[in-house]
Structures are given as C-alpha cells and as structure tokens.
C-alpha cells in the first residue's frame, strides 16, 4: 500500500519546467531510490515533498490526507522528515543538544528525548564528540547527527538527499548500516542519490528522472537496464550488443 503518492507534480523556474508532471508512489516500508543525472530535478522534487517549494500544479498525498504545499515544519510534525545534502545542524549547540532539540521539536517529552538521544549517540558512534558544538564536528559526523535528528522520533518517511556524498567510507558504512537497520524495523525511505552502487545495494525500487521528467520507474534492476536511463547517464550508446550495465560498478563494501 502506498504511503506517499505523488500525482503530476509540476514546478517552473523562470519558464523552465524544473519538475514536469512527475508522478510516483512510495510504498510503506520500502527504500525507494530517486535517481538521475545531475540537474535532473531530484532535489527539486525533494524540496516539493518537504515543503520548501510549492508546486505549480499536482498533488501529494501521505496516507489518506493531502499534504500538497504544507509548510516544512507541518510536514515534519506529520512525520515527513528531510535531510539535506549540505548538512543543517544547530552549530552553536552541542551535538547532544541538537538531538534533544530535534526530539522536543517532534513533540517528544524532555525525559524521553534525553533517553533516545543517549541511545542514538551510541548507535551513531558520536559518543566522543557528543558534547562538542555541532559546528565543530566533521562533515561525516554532522551527517550522522542529522540521521539522529531525523530518527529521534521514527519518521513516517525519511527523505535523504545525497547522504553519502563526500563522506568517509567508514562513515558511509555506519550510515548504510543505520538505514538497513531502520528499514528492517519498518521505516520508509526516499533516497536521492546518483551513487549507483549504494542505490543498488539499498533500494528495491527506483524512480529515474531526467530533465524534470520521470523516464523510468519500478524494480531497481529493471530501471537500471532501461535504455533511456542508460542514455541519460552515458549519453548516446553504441547501438547493438553489450549494453553496459550500470550495475557492474563495485559496491561500497568491497572498497578498502
């Protein structure tokens, strides 16, 4: 059953359709990959879904209710959480306070937030830095911190924008593990990335965008074999045999 359903979403930037009649479903409990080359409109879709942009037309439904054009904080209250490519943490509060604040913001009691924050700090291996100001953390640590802030109260859907970009492999692993674990516990993810190995590794289904349009959607492997998708990534392909598969790139776990 679909948790988040997107119908004919369209938004224009100065005449250009950045997102053009995009529709897809996000099923409860799945990890859906939103892929596509740079500038294909992935992040714009995320901005639309997380309330930082109002669509020109189209609808977004979460469960049974229409959430089109709701403000970011309303959506967050309803459990649609978003993570940024450029991390957004509260730089002049300690990491621990960041988690605590995120909990309070989601309506969790102070004592309970405290408890969960402590748990998350361990899970995310932030222990050593938990009392440093978030501004002093490394990029990777901030991403982990954002994970924590999203999951201090389990979201209905977590939208991750390029979570693995420019992150130390070890951190990547911690994140990936975190995502798998939460997924196993039934969390739903919308994962924006152009890092194929991770997508293949984590997602069951994927939606591929190019130039603001959805060019393919469905089972991840099917999508990645789709000609349009391959062209979108590799430009024109030599017709005939040996269509290069995007899956052949090695997955992060084999990296040193």
């Amino acid at each position: 059953m679909s948790l988040l359903s997107v119908h004919n979403l369209t938004v224009h930037f100065g005449g250009v359709a950045a997102v053009d009649d995009v529709s897809f479903d996000l099923r409860a409990g799945e990890i859906l990959g939103l892929i596509g080359p740079n500038g294909s409109g992935k992040t714009t879709v995320l901005n639309l879904l997380s309330g930082f942009l109002a669509p020109r037309s189209g609808r977004v439904r979460m469960g049974d209710d229409d959430i089109t054009g709701l403000s970011a904080n309303r959506l967050a209250q309803r459990g649609a959480l978003r993570m940024f490519q450029m991390t957004r943490v509260f730089s002049r509060m300690s990491a621990f306070d960041n988690l605590l604040t995120a909990g309070l913001a989601r309506g969790v009691s102070e004592r309970e937030s405290q408890r969960r924050a402590e748990a998350l700090v361990d899970e995310l291996t932030l222990g050593p830095v938990q009392f440093l100001d978030a501004g002093q953390l490394s990029g990777g640590q901030r991403k982990l911190l954002e994970f924590g802030m999203c999951f201090i109260e389990p979201p209905r859907v977590a939208m991750l924008d390029e979570p693995f970009a420019a992150v130390h492999p070890v951190m990547r692993e911690v994140m990936a593990a975190f995502i798998r674990k939460r997924h196993a516990q039934g969390s739903t993810f919308l994962l924006v990335s152009h890092d194929m190995p991770i997508i293949v590794d984590l997602c069951q289904r994927a939606v591929c965008m190019n130039a603001g349009k959805v060019i393919a959607a469905g089972d991840i492997h099917a999508v990645l074999k789709d000609h349009e998708v391959i062209e979108a990534y590799l430009g024109e392909t030599p017709d005939g045999d040996a269509v290069p598969s995007l899956e052949l790139t090695d997955s992060p776990r084999e990296q040193p």
Binding site: R88, F90, M93, L104
Partner: protein
C-alpha cells in the same frame, strides 16, 4: 578524546548562577553605599541591564538583530505617561499597560521583518525606531514634544526604588531562565543557528520569531516604564539611536547570548561611563575609545573571557 559534559542546560545553569550572584552582590550594595546618587547610578544601570537582557533574547538567542530596543523602552515609558496624563490611570495599571503595548508594537515589528534577515532586518528595525521617535517627538499637542511628560512615581525613597529595580531584574532573569531552559529557548537557538534546518525538524520558525519579538520588546517596555516612574519624566531622547548603541555595546562588551554577559556589560559600561565624569568634558571621548577597544580585542565579551578562564580552571 572525550569532552567534558557541557550541555545547554549546564551552561545555562552556570550562567544563571553567575547572574544571580551578581544580583545578590547588588542587593548588598546599599549596606555600604547610601548616597542617593551612587544608588541612582546602579539603578539606572539596572534599567539598561533589563533592556540589554531583552535585546539579548532577540539578537543573542534568536538571531534577530534588531536596532530598536531603546525605541521600545520609549514606547513603554510613554504608554504609562500618556495613560496617566490623559486617563489618570494609576501606575498599578499603567506599568502592565506599558508591557502590553510594547509587546503589541513588538508584534507589529516582528510581522514587518518576519521574512527579512541580516542588514535588511537591522535597518528596518532602525527605521521603525526612528519613526517612533520622530512621531512622538513631533506630536506636541499629544506628547508635549521634546519637553517630555511628567510621570507619577511609585515611591520617593531611593532605597525603595533600588530594590524595586533589583527585584524586577531578578524576576526578568528568572523568566528568561525558565523560557530558555525549556522548549522555547532551544527552538529560539535553533532558529538562530539555522532557520531552514529548524523548520525541517518541525519547529514553527514564524511562531518562535514572533514570541521572541513580543517578549523582548515587552521587557524593554517594562524597563522604560519603570524608569519613567523613577525619573518622573519621559522624553523622546529615551529612544535615541545612541541609546540603542549604548545597549548594544553593553551586550557585546559583556558577552552575547548570555544572561550574565548582558547584566555584567550593562553594569560595567554604565558605571564606568559615570565614573569617567572624572575626566571632565573628554568623558565621552574616553568612553567611545573604550567601547571600540573592547569590541575589537575582546570577542565573546567579558563573560566569554570569564567563562573560558573558569572552564580552564575546572578542566
């Protein structure tokens, strides 16, 4: 390496403790100092301290760099004065009325600058402050213009007034402490550090900003109103830009985003500016130099310095 536990609640408690210690010290001053003049000076510096704390809540904790604190003190003072003069409202109502009206104007200003940031916000608040002052200063029929208005007084006893101000200061500190240690305080700081991040975590940024504006301006209004009853006079000069500059330098010298910082700054800056009278007519020149040097060479202010030293001492 494991940093020592330094959570917001700890920092705030420490901060509040220091602030209350200063208040305790102030409470003892009348035992050694009895001259109405000396008490008067400390009393006026407490007036500035309240404004500084109010402004600090807005600028230091919520990141809304307003340039109108003095104007709101003036608005508060005039509310009490006008009510008393035209409707013979007793101070018991006049002072709360000042708080309310200042809060209301604060709300208006907040709405006005809701979507502005950085210098836009600063200059719009500055414009607002100047409008308020020009209108009050030029409405002779209504406000008696630059001559100012006479205000009733709570008590003729200087000691009495001293403790009224000190009591108010403590009350304000307690209020701010309660506000800052809870959700609101954290949300304010979240808005300051990253408005976008804050809203994406589920914080209603607009609401938080408005609350910050109302509370901050209300405090300034309260200060202005009390002060009017003390000096039995309110004049447009209460809202001069220079007054705002004074408040800002107090907070910056004392230390932004800190209760003790604002309090300490207000006391030291005002007391020293009085003490500088010894320098005769170069008083203001010396004062200006001090302000520049402090701001330039003491980032984080006195409290920042003190805190850092104390940390080192502990660790």
């Amino acid at each position: 390496m494991t940093a020592r536990r330094q959570l917001w609640s700890d920092r705030l408690r420490f901060d509040m403790g220091a602030a209350l210690a200063i208040c305790a010290a102030l409470a003892l001053v009348p035992l050694f100092v009895s001259g109405p003049y000396a008490l008067g000076i400390i009393l006026v510096s407490i007036y500035f301290a309240i404004i500084a704390l109010g402004w600090n809540l807005l600028a230091g904790y919520t990141g809304q760099f307003s340039l109108a604190p003095a104007a709101f003190a003036m608005i508060g003072g005039y509310t009490t004065a006008l009510l008393g003069h035209y409707l013979h409202v007793p101070l018991a109502l006049g002072i709360p009325a000042a708080i309310v009206s200042a809060a209301l104007f604060g709300w208006v200003l907040g709405k006005l600058v809701l979507n502005l940031s950085g210098p836009y916000l600063s200059l719009t608040t500055l414009a607002f402050a100047e409008i308020a002052r020009v209108v009050i200063g030029n409405s002779h029929e209504f406000t008696r213009g630059d001559q100012g208005m006479h205000v009733a007084t709570l008590t003729q006893s200087r000691i009495g007034y001293y403790y009224i101000f000190l009591g108010t200061l403590v009350a304000v500190l307690v209020l701010l402490y309660g506000l800052l240690r809870g959700r609101l305080g954290r949300f304010m700081m979240a808005v300051r550090d990253d408005p976008v991040g804050a809203s994406s975590r589920g914080i209603d940024v607009v609401r938080i900003k408005m609350i910050a504006f109302c509370v901050s301006c209300a405090l300034c209004g309260l200060a202005g109103s009390l002060y009017g009853t003390f000096s039995q006079l309110v004049s447009p000069e209460l809202g001069l830009l220079q007054q705002t500059g004074l408040v800002l330098s107090m907070v910056v010298i004392g230390g932004m985003s800190s209760l003790t910082g604002a309090l300490l700054g207000a006391l030291l800056v005002y007391l020293s500016s009085e003490w500088l009278r010894g320098f005769g007519d170069v008083q203001i020149i010396v004062f200006a130099l001090l302000v520049i040097l402090f701001a330039r060479y003491l980032p984080g202010g006195l409290w920042g310095l003190a805190a850092r030293l104390l940390q080192r001492g502990r660790a």
